[in-house]
Every structure is written in C-alpha cells, then in structure tokens.
C-alpha cells in the first residue's frame, strides 16, 4: 500500500486553497491532510469509487441538452473537499448580503420608479435593451418587495487570494441539490473528520427554503408547488429533490390551470388552489399568452394571476435584468447608490463593448480577454482568448461589431485551485464557488456552497456542461 505525499505537488504559481509557500499545508487543511496520509492510496481510490456508485444509485444524474433523451450523466464528485476558513466565510457572507440587498432594490426600482435611471447612474437604454428586461413587470410590487428570493452567486478567488463576484445568477440558479447530496456522501466518506473539524451543516437548507416560500403567501398553510419543465430538463433531479425535501408538489405546466385568474392543480379529486410556485421554468416559457407564444411548458393565464397577486412566483419574473452581464459592470455603483457603501466583494474588471473606449480596447485585445454574451449562461456563448484559435477570435470580433450591446469582456482570471484526484495522482484543478442566498423577509445565507471544479488539466471552465465536476464545500465554524 503506497503512502500519499504531496512532495511533487505543483502549484504553478496559482493560488492554492490547501497549500501555501513551499507546499506548506494551510492551517484549515491540516487535519484533512493528516487523514489522507494515514489512509494511503488504495483506501482513497476505493472511497472515490464508492462515491461514483452512490451517485448512480441515488439517481443524481443530469441530461445533457445536446444528447438524446435517455443519456444521463453523473456530475463527478471529487472527494477532496474545498475547505473555507471562518474568517474568509465572514467576508463572503457580509458581501453577499450587501450585494443581494442592493440588487433587489435595483430590480424593484427598475420596474417601478426608475430613480436610478433618472439620476443617470446607469444609462436607461442599457437597461431597456436587455433581453431579460420584461416590460410586462412594470408597476408590480411582489410580497415584501422581494424579487430575487433565491440566488446562486458565482464567486472566484484570483491569484491575489481575493474573492471576486463573477456572475449574479438571479433567475433560476441550479446546483443546490449537489451541495446537499455531496455533503451526505462525504459524511459517509470522512465521518471522523466531521467529528473533529467543526464543519457547518447545510442540511437545513430545504427547511429554510420552505419557510421562505411560506412567508410569501398570506394563506396558511400555503400550498407550494415546484414547477419543472419535466424529466428531460438537465436539472430535473434537482427539481424533484427539492420538491421532495420540502414536501411540496412537483408540477409541470400541464398540471396547472388558471380559472378566473386563480391558479389550480389538476388532481384526482378535481381542482386544487396553488399559492406559491417555485418555478424552475424560464420567464419566457411561463405563460404563452404573455411571453413565448409557442411555449409548451407554460400555463396560459399564469402571468395575469401573478399580476393580480393571486399566486406568488419565485423568483419573480423579470429579475434577469439584474444579471445581464452588461448591468453586472454597474453593480458596484448600484450598491453605492442604494446603500451608500463600497462593494465588499469586488467585481471582475469588465469592458462594455457598447462604450466606444472599451470597444476599441476589446477589439484589439481579444486574444488576452474572456468575451461573454450578455444574456447567456452555463458556459455557452463565451470565448476564452488565450485558449482560442485565430478563426474563433475573428468570429467573435464580427459578432461584437454587429451587436456591441450583446458582449462584454473581462481579463482572464486564473481561478484558485484545490488538489483533486486524477487517475491515481493528486493535482491542482481550478475551482469556483456558488453559495446560495435566500431572501424572504430577511436575507439568509447557508454556510456552504457548491464548488465546481474544472476536471481537465489547465482548464478554467467549471460548468457541468463543459466537463466540470464538483466538490463538497466545508465552511468551518471556529467560534
């Protein structure tokens, strides 16, 4: 049985979550490292193997859009955890609270008084030209004036060791079920570590989620439904998982019917009223009478019922306007405007192709930049300059020239790395961090997150659709 050691581990100049200078183990990884060294390679490989099997048997699978139906994959879980020390988490927690509060005020303002536009903090045409801005939401005042009830902010740590917000994900962020199930699996993998290290539990997330959803309705007990596009959606496992954990109904558009602006589910005993819908269907597919006419997923009349206040939709339609990647560039100014504070977690430097100066810079520096389409997500519609071909760069230059509003650019950030198992070796792999924020009456952040990891050597793309995996994230409680 060969021993595990880290003598030949290479940091390659990146920020490593586990190792400091001269491959010294950071304090918050000490116990973990001792455990690894004690167990040896055979045991470690065995534990990783059982994890893969556990994921299959629980059905933690996702469908890939380009594949035919029936092809299911697991999101690979690497058993080496990403550990976050208490002092780092405190910064993240304060920063996220601040950011979500400001973004929510922004969304409410945009659909109501539009003060921020009148004060010329953000150009009005930038907001109105966003494909995720929904004019149908004008004048709406959702319960407690909360729009973004559930957020999954993408955070990265740069080479300088500082955290940055990369994307805000205010629409239907996914992945929280992996945060929960990864923890269930790791508790079986490293039980002794959970005893010794004080790892904050995450399992009460679904409890908080249900509380939050109930708090939005005047009806008690409120009937809550999770709306899914169906079993072929890539996140179906999560929709079913959350519905089950909350004891809510899992419904599809065809299970709902609207009569006299009231929303009902079709049950074996007739129609039953629904009060709160946690919808995992995009805005544009919710209601064919208001949005996309050809949507088969939607329920006719749903939006009107919502406008009348007869049903609560979570997240509120229209929140996407605040996670448009061009609006993102203004978030530090949004925070300053509504809260009169500096952003605690900074943004990544962003060039707006719509602004002449930035446009010129971007066009001349494509090979060194990351280019992103402002309304895309999931790793689609983007170009990583240094890893792209000349031809791809030219194609993107054309796209930008054609529609500058639709593109932004950012410098390449070398995400921090965490040691990761790779065919019998342990090597550094780049990671990001997605904590989940709930906002009902107050903002609540579960001390945990989904850590996504780029499994391919040197890759910076962590998205599951592009060869990414995940890690359990341990937020330590040192108080």
């Amino acid at each position: 049985m060969s021993k595990i050691n880290f003598d030949s581990y290479e940091q390659n100049g990146f920020f490593d979550e586990m190792f400091g200078a001269n491959n010294g183990i950071k304090k918050h990884y000490k116990l973990f490292s001792e455990r690894l060294q004690k167990m040896g390679w055979r045991k470690l490989n065995f534990l990783q193997h059982s994890t893969d099997r556990a994921q299959l048997s629980t059905g933690m699978t996702f469908n890939v859009y380009s594949d035919n139906q029936g092809i299911e994959r697991i999101l690979h879980l690497d058993i080496i955890p990403r550990i976050i020390p208490t002092k780092d988490w405190e910064i993240l927690e304060r920063g996220l609270k601040q950011r979500i509060e400001a973004l929510n005020l922004f969304i409410h303002d945009i659909y109501n008084e539009q003060k921020i536009l009148k004060d010329k903090i953000i150009p009005a045409e930038l907001v109105f030209s966003s494909t995720t801005y929904l004019p149908q939401c004008k004048g709406l005042k959702p319960p407690n004036k909360v729009w973004c009830h559930i957020t999954g902010t993408d955070i990265i740590r740069g080479e300088d060791g500082n955290f940055y917000v990369l994307e805000d994900n205010l629409r239907c962020p996914s992945g929280v079920s992996y945060m929960l199930e990864n923890r269930e699996i790791l508790k079986r993998t490293f039980p002794e570590l959970f005893e010794k290290l004080r790892v904050n539990p995450v399992s009460n997330y679904t409890h908080h989620l249900r509380d939050m959803l109930e708090s939005l309705s005047p009806v008690t007990p409120a009937t809550i439904a999770v709306l899914t596009p169906g079993i072929y959606n890539s996140a179906y496992f999560e929709h079913a998982y959350l519905a089950q954990q909350m004891g809510a109904e899992l419904v599809e558009g065809r299970d709902l019917v609207v009569k006299n602006d009231l929303v009902y589910m079709v049950t074996t005993k007739g129609l039953q009223r629904v009060d709160v819908i946690y919808r995992r269907v995009d805005d544009s597919y919710l209601d064919p009478t208001t949005f996309k006419k050809d949507s088969l997923l939607g329920t006719p009349g749903l939006f009107k019922a919502y406008q009348q206040g007869n049903v609560v939709l979570v997240n509120a339609p229209g929140t996407g306007v605040a996670d448009d990647k061009a609006i993102y560039a203004y978030v530090p100014r949004i925070i300053k405007y509504y809260l009169n504070e500096e952003a605690i977690i900074p943004n990544v430097k962003t060039y707006l192709c719509d602004e002449p100066e930035d446009f010129n810079y971007v066009i001349n520096n494509i090979p060194n930049l990351v280019i992103k389409q402002t309304d895309a997500s999931g790793g689609y519609g983007m170009l990583i300059g240094p890893k792209s071909t000349k031809k791809e760069q030219e194609e993107f230059a054309e796209k930008i020239k054609k529609n500058p509003r639709n593109y932004i650019a950012q410098p390449v950030i070398n995400l921090s790395r965490v040691p990761t198992l790779n065919e019998g070796t342990i090597e550094g792999r780049h990671v990001d961090l997605r904590p989940y924020v709930l906002y009902g009456k107050e903002i609540k952040i579960i001390p945990g997150a989904l850590t996504r990891v780029a499994l391919k050597k040197d890759s910076l793309i962590v998205n599951s659709s592009q060869g990414g995996g995940s890690k359990d994230t341990w937020v330590l409680d040192n108080q």
Binding site: L56, S57, T58, G59, I231, Y236, A240, Y241, A243, Q244, A248, E249, L250, V251, E252, R254, D255, V257, M265, V266, T267, T268, G270, L271
Partner: protein, 320 residues
C-alpha cells in the same frame, strides 16, 4: 393528488408487475422445455401468445425460436412490453413522481434499471441458461413490492399504485390460463396424460400458484386449476381476488363504501360481480378461451374508465 402523478404511480406499478410476470413466464417455460419427453418439440410460441404480442413478434422475426423469443420478451426495445421496456418505463414513471415515492423505492427501481441495462449490454439471451438472470429480476420486483408496501403511506398514491398492480396481475393470470388453449399436445389421447399434467403444473408455477394450489386441492385437474386461478377469493394472484382488492382501493380513494359514484367504480364492480356470481362449470360451458377473451376486453374497459375518471386532465378541467 395530481392526476398526472396518480397516472404515473398506476403505470409504474403495472410495468413492474408486468416485468415480474414475464420473468416468471420465461423461467417456467425454460424449465418446461427441460422436462419434455425426447420426441416432443420445445414450445416457445405459446409464451408469445400469452403476452398478446404475437403480431408484433411475427412482424419482427421469422420463427419462434427459443433465443428469439427470450430476446423479444426479455430484452427487445422494439417490444414495448418486454422486461427491458417495462423496467425502463417503470423508472421513467418513477422519475416523474420522484417526490411521491420514498428514497428506498426509487433506489430499488433504479437498481433494477441498471441491472436490465447491463443484461442487455452483456447479451444475456445468448447464454445457454439465462434462468439466474430472470430469477434476479423476479426477486428484484418482489423486493420492490415489499419496499413499496413497507415505506409508502396508505394514501391515494398507494391505492392508485395498488390498483395498477392488481389490474396487471389479473390480466396476466387470465392470460396464463388461456395459454393452455394454445399449447399443442402431440395428439388428442394426450389429454390427461403425464405430459398434459406437466403442462398444467407448469402453468401453475408460472403464476407462483403451485404450492397454494396443492394445499387446497392436492391433485392436479384442469377444472380445479382453472377454478383456483379464476375464482379463488384467498389466493392473491387469482383473478377474482385481484379485482376484489382493486375495488377496495378504489372505494378508499373515492370515500364511498359501496355501489358506484363514477364510471371506474361501476365497470370494476360489474366485472368483479360477474366473477363472484359464477362457477367454473358455467365458465367451461361457455368455453374457457371464449370466457377469458371476453374478460380481457372488459378489463381493458375498466382501465380506460380509471383513466377517464381520475387521470385525464382534459376531463377533469371540463368537469369542474
């Protein structure tokens, strides 16, 4: 409960019951083929006739050769009722209603799914003796019944599931009984001969009825066997017993103790009474095959009525 969900639980259980029955049929027929006297040919065709998919089989394959039949009934994705298709469909239904069932039920279905997927990839039908594979399917399904009963609350979902299972079981038992009609004997004198009795015994085994039958009747006789499988009130796989329990579940769902309040209750009640107030001599007078044919049509009507009453979203919206 949601109509779509009730529909899925109903079908999830029907498909599992179907898979289990098919697995048993194969095991029994395989055994039967080993017990035949040397001059009698193996018979695999009646097995296909039992399932009611004779036409589909003929459109796909030239002759009812053993391996082809095993493939068709066990592994063929072109056969919507094969064990493989049934388990895939059961799992797809289970995915639809994941929040309604327990983790234990889901994981067992998932396990069965990976087992049949694996069996298909390994081409089990080419094995000389695939019985171990079918036994595994059978026990996997039976384990699932146990988990379903032991972990799911007796609310509407459980009852819809139960109805699905019982209707499927009644259908399969009636078809097995009918198969004797299709099995050829070497000549007319063979009626009542040892080979005839071997076949009747095989028939009992294919619905797991031989032990309970022997306790009740001791000796094998065609009319006793038919009576046992059709009209026995205590044996859980007899047609009447299935209908009685399905009716009870239906009444529990609607909350009406007797009579009928909708088309499903009416059709099921009528069919059950028809069996309850007949005896095996009357059935034989009509002809067992003819009687079973008529029964299967009526059982389909019951299934349709259940759909119309509880699952059809269109109907429910229009009626409220």
């Amino acid at each position: 409960m949601l109509s779509r969900v009730a529909d899925s639980i109903y079908w999830m259980n029907r498909y599992i019951e179907r898979a289990e029955n098919y697995a048993r049929f194969m095991d029994v027929n395989f055994n039967l083929s080993l017990e035949l006297p040397p001059h009698v040919n193996e018979q695999w065709k009646p097995l296909i006739l039992t399932t009611g998919d004779g036409e589909l089989f003929e459109s796909l394959y030239e002759n009812a050769e053993k391996k082809k039949v095993i493939y068709f009934l066990g592994f063929d994705d072109q056969n919507p009722n094969s064990i493989y298709s049934s388990i895939v469909n059961a799992r797809s239904n289970a995915r639809h209603i994941r929040p309604e069932i327990t983790k234990e039920v889901w994981e067992q279905i998932n396990k069965l799914y990976y087992f049949v997927k694996d069996g298909r990839e390994k081409k089990v039908w080419q094995k000389k003796d695939p019985r171990a594979y079918f036994t595994e399917i059978k026990t996997g399904c039976q384990l699932l019944y146990g988990i379903f009963d032991a972990t799911i609350s007796r609310t509407d979902g459980w009852h819809f599931g139960k109805i699905g299972q019982l209707i499927e079981r009644a259908d399969k038992t009636s078809r097995v009984l009918d198969v004797k009609y299709h099995i050829l004997l070497p000549n007319t004198e063979a009626v009542g001969s040892p080979i005839d009795l071997v076949q009747w015994a095989a028939l009992l085994k294919s619905v797991s009825a031989i032990d309970m039958y022997r306790k009740q009747y001791g000796k094998l006789s065609p009319s006793d066997i038919s009576e046992f499988l059709m009209l026995n009130k205590a044996f859980p796989r007899s047609v009447l017993s299935c209908l009685m329990h399905a009716e009870q579940s239906l009444h529990t769902i609607t909350g009406s103790p007797e009579g009928y309040t909708n088309l499903a209750e009416k059709k099921l009640g009528l069919l059950k009474s028809q069996l309850e107030y007949t005896d095996i001599y009357e059935i034989f007078k009509i002809g067992l095959h003819e009687y079973l044919d008529d029964f299967q049509i009526k059982l389909n009507d019951v299934s349709t009525a259940i759909f119309e009453t509880f699952f059809s979203i269109e109907n429910i919206i229009n009626n409220s």
